[in-house]
Every structure is written in C-alpha cells, then in structure tokens.
C-alpha cells in the first residue's frame, strides 16, 4: 500500500511533465493544422478542415524533405558505422598514451552541433577555405559545397559523421572493452588466429551493442537539423530535411497552420518509429 503511493508519487509527476511539453503540443498541432493561420496576418485566420493536408500531399517540397530525411538517415548510418568501427578498433588497442587518443577521437561528441556546423562552415567556405586549398592542390578543383546539390549532401553527411562517428566508436569501444575476456581467450586456446577471433567471436558478441548504436543514431537522424541549417543558410537549398522544412514554413514564412500539418505527420511517423524500435531495448532491461 505504502509502496504503491511511493510509486505513484514518483512516476506520475514525471509523466505529467513530459506530456505537458511533448505530447500536449502535438494535440494542438492537430488543432492548428485545420486552420489557415499565418502569424503575420492573424486577421485572416479561418477553419479550413483538411485543406492543409491536401496541399501537403501535393507539395513537392514536402516530398523532397521527406526523401532527403531518408537519404541522410541511410547514408549517415553507413558512413558513421564504418568510421565508428575504425575508431573503436584503433582505440581498443592498449599502449602507453592511448588515453590521449581516446580523448581526441571522441572529442566532438558533446560539442554543440551548431558550433560543429560553424567550424565546418569555416572549413568549406567558398573561395578561402582550407578544404578548397586541399582540393585545389591535390585535384586542381574547387567545389562550392554550399551551393546545394550533390556537394552539399556530401558535406552535411561529413559534418554529421565528424560529430557522430566518434559516438558510434565510443559505444563500440565500450562494448569491446566490456566483452568478457574468456570467450576471446578460449578461442585463442582453441587455436584461432586473431583475425578469426575478430570475425567469428568479437563481432558476433558485439552484435547487440552495434544494434543499439545504430538505433540511437537512426532515431537522432530523423531529427537532423543543425548542419543543414548551417550549410544552407546563405547558400544553396534543396537539401532540407523535414525538421528544416517545418522550421522554414513555420518560422520563416510564419505559416503556422501548414507547419502544424507537417508537424502532425512528422510526429506520428517519428512516434511509430521510436515506439517500435525502443521496444527492442526490452531485452537489455535488467
């Protein structure tokens, strides 16, 4: 009885607070999405039913944003996993001074994403950047990374990978260092050379951890915003993700009704994805 009270008192406020900030707005989005509602022209506000959704599903920019979101998710996951595995492999070695490399290679993880984007903006800024100098010297070309199109896709992925491949590396490293030593030792005594041990023992044992790293990145990449914002500002376009598109329609154009409609769709998709995937964690619950 007393325990029950304690449980209620400790969990309900937390849930309530979360609902207030993160669920309640979703309900309001549904409400807003049925209106023609521009902040700049409040006097024109009127109920228009599902009209926002109708125009949404015929809006090529929306489809582009959705497509971009998917592209970035897939490409970044692949790139970040490959790079992250390399980082983890290097950092799992044991020698004097490995500590400093463990700091170096994982340094970008906690940095504010926007400052990472700004740092990279400096690296690629047309006509004067270090990257320009390198490509000029090596291949005798200069690329305008910020003009949109393929180069912009690439640079957004690189920026994201620069910050988040170390994150995957860090998780895999924790996994590798946390592996019980016995299976690896047993495999070596069983006669397996180091490469066999790696592919037949270590990687299979790491599978759950690899999965967690990828899932967490996946769920974060759905929200991808900062590097695109930084690269697109003052430059090319056409690489917006859903987050950026909502930002643009909602706050640059101040079209709340339409932005709300995109938000509703986005929220539902993200909620379903998160809910499905997050249940996978159940097996890791102690």
């Amino acid at each position: 009885m007393k325990t029950k009270t304690l449980i209620l008192v400790t969990t309900l406020p937390t849930l309530f607070y979360l609902f207030t900030w993160l669920f309640y707005p979703f309900i309001y989005n549904i409400y807003f999405s049925t209106f023609y509602y521009k902040l700049a022209r409040p006097e024109l506000t009127r109920f228009i039913g599902i009209e926002n959704y109708v125009s949404l599903f015929t809006d090529p920019d929306f489809y582009l944003a959705a497509r971009n979101t998917v592209i970035f998710i897939l490409a970044c996951l692949g790139l970040e996993f490959a790079l992250g595995l390399l980082i983890a492999l290097c950092l799992s070695r044991d020698f004097k001074g490995i500590g400093i490399f463990r700091i170096f290679f994982t340094l970008p993880i906690l940095l504010p994403p926007i400052s990472v984007a700004i740092i990279w903006r400096l690296m690629i800024f047309p006509e004067m950047s270090l990257i320009d100098f390198i490509t000029q010297t090596l291949f005798n070309i200069r690329i305008n990374w910020m003009a949109g199109g393929f180069p912009s896709y690439i640079i957004v992925m690189l920026i994201d990978a620069w910050q988040w491949a170390p994150f995957i590396g860090l998780i895999l490293l924790a996994g590798m260092l946390g592996l019980p030593p016995e299976p690896v030792e047993a495999a070596r005594v069983d006669g397996a050379p180091p490469t066999t041990v790696f592919f037949r023992i270590i990687i299979p044992y790491l599978k759950p951890i690899i999965l967690i790293a990828l899932i967490l990145r996946f769920l974060d990449l759905i929200k991808l915003f900062d590097p695109i914002y930084a690269v697109v500002t003052g430059g090319g376009s056409g690489i917006e993700t859903l987050s950026v598109y909502i930002y643009k329609r909602g706050f640059k154009v101040l079209d709340i009704g339409y932005g709300a409609a995109i938000s509703v769709i986005f929220w539902i998709v993200a909620f379903i994805a998160a809910n499905l995937i997050v249940r996978r964690f159940k097996e890791y619950l102690v």
Partner: protein
C-alpha cells in the same frame, strides 16, 4: 619485433583519424587569433603570421555576448535541475520496485526522447508568445528539462540498480527511514554517475539550437548557440576570427565537461544500456 602489414595499417589509421578529428578544431581555433586581413589569405595559413588576442575581447562588447552566455548558463542549469528533480525519484522507484506497469512507464518516457523537437515547437511557440514568455531562458530551461528527463531516468536507474538493495535495507534495519537510506547510502554510491548525468544534460542543453532559435527573438534573450549562428551572414559579414572566438567560448566548457566524464559518456548517451 617484426614489422608487419597490420602494424603499418594501424599507424596510418591513427594518423588519418588524428588529422580528421583535430584539424577542424585546430584550424578554427587558430583562426580566432588571425587578423582581419589574414583570414582572407590564400593559401590559408595554418599558423597565424600575426598572432592577436583582441577578438577574444572584442566579441564581449560589440555583441551582447554576455547576455548570450548568461542565458545559456541559466537555461542549462534550470534544465539540469528540472531533469534531475523529476527523474531521480522515478529512476529510484523503477530501479527498486517491480511494479506492474514499470516497463510501460520506462518505455513511454524513453519514446519521448526520440520525438523530433521540430514536431512540437510550433504550438509551444504560439503559447509562449501569448503568455509573453518568449525570450526568457527560464522557458528554455523548462523545455530542455523535459527533453532530458528520459536520459535522467534511464541512466540514473542503471546506476541505482548496481547498488545492492540490501545496503539500503540493512541501513533501514539499523534504524533509519527509506529516505535517509537513499540519501546516506545510495546517493553517495551513485555520485560518479550522478555527476556524469548532470554534466551530459548540461552539455546537451547548452548546445541546443532549434528551440532556442525559435523561442528567442530579441538579442537579450538569445542563447550562445543562437548568438553565434547569427554571426554567420549577419552584420559581421564573415569575420571568422570573431565567430571562432565566440564559438570557442561556447565549446571550451563543454570540452572540460567531456574530459571530466568521458568514462561515463558511453553509458550516459546510451541510456545506461552500454556499460
């Protein structure tokens, strides 16, 4: 010792990774020491020819950087306090009691972490505007607090689970209440974890951009990430030395925090699952 292919490949990998991670940080850092003219040099210089500290001071005065800093600190601190205040009790009961809906509670909380801010920011903006709460770091702190509660609950729970409940029980049998047992036994024992969670939440709030950029409009209300993002393309044009000085003021505290908690970072960022 023989020199073999693996060794060479390892050394090359280390060199490439070092360049890849450190060059952008290094280059942007030294840019803050370059003079106005030198930032336009071609080829770009890797060591400033003319080493100047002035932009590190100037940015405090020709922009409301002090206000940005203050707002960021306030928002991050409020966020951390809110997140811990809500998540510590939840984490404790979820770790200690095996009640019926426990996993539902935990997974509902976790799901909230993965909802995109962009999908909820519009109504929040509309309401805060109506309540005239736009432009205050306090409202940002309240929102960041909510966003970071899932991290708090899950990570703290993973630390509490590791403390055997016998310790608390034994303390209660010694003659103390459950609250005292928590405060005198469990809390000191999870202190490293608690510090790590706090600093992670602090760092994540510190660098948040989307909410901050939408929910603040006047210079006096903006946070550091929004402030420095506005250096780009704004009235400063491309004064990269100033931009980078400001950026590093935002980054350095985070780097210090990172180094302090790096051993707990993997765990903190995976909700306590990877230990």
């Amino acid at each position: 010792m023989k020199i073999n292919g693996w060794k060479i490949a390892t050394v090359i990998a280390f060199i490439l990774l070092t360049i890849w991670t450190l060059i952008p940080i290094y280059y942007s850092f030294i840019t803050a020491f370059k003079s106005r003219i030198e930032i336009t040099y071609w080829p770009p210089t890797l060591i400033p020819k003319e080493f100047t500290m002035q932009y590190w001071f100037i940015i405090w005065f020709d922009r409301p950087t002090i206000a940005y800093y203050r707002n960021t600190v306030i928002a991050s601190l409020i966020s951390t306090l809110i997140a811990l205040a809500f998540s510590m009790p939840t984490a404790y009961t979820c770790a200690r009691f095996n009640f019926k809906n426990r996993s539902d509670v935990l997974f509902t909380i976790l799901t909230f972490r993965f909802l995109p801010p962009a999908a909820v920011v519009l109504p929040i903006y509309v309401f805060l505007r109506q309540l005239a709460l736009i432009d205050t770091p306090i409202s940002l702190g309240l929102i960041y607090g909510a966003i970071n509660i899932p991290i708090g609950v899950w990570v703290l729970r993973s630390y509490i689970i590791e403390i055997p409940p016998e310790l608390e029980e034994s303390y209660m049998i010694d003659g103390y209440s459950r609250l005292r047992a928590f405060l005198n036994i469990t809390l000191p024992l999870i202190r490293p974890g608690l510090v790590a969670v706090s600093l992670i939440i602090l760092a994540l709030s510190w660098g948040e951009f989307l909410f901050a950029s939408i929910l603040t409009t006047s210079p006096a209300g903006k946070t550091l990430p929004v402030g420095i993002s506005e250096y780009m393309g704004g009235e400063w044009g491309y004064e990269w030395n100033k931009i980078m000085a400001a950026t590093f003021y935002a980054i350095i505290p985070i780097i210090i925090a990172f180094i302090a908690i790096r051993k707990h970072l993997a765990r903190g960022l995976t909700f306590g699952i990877v230990r």
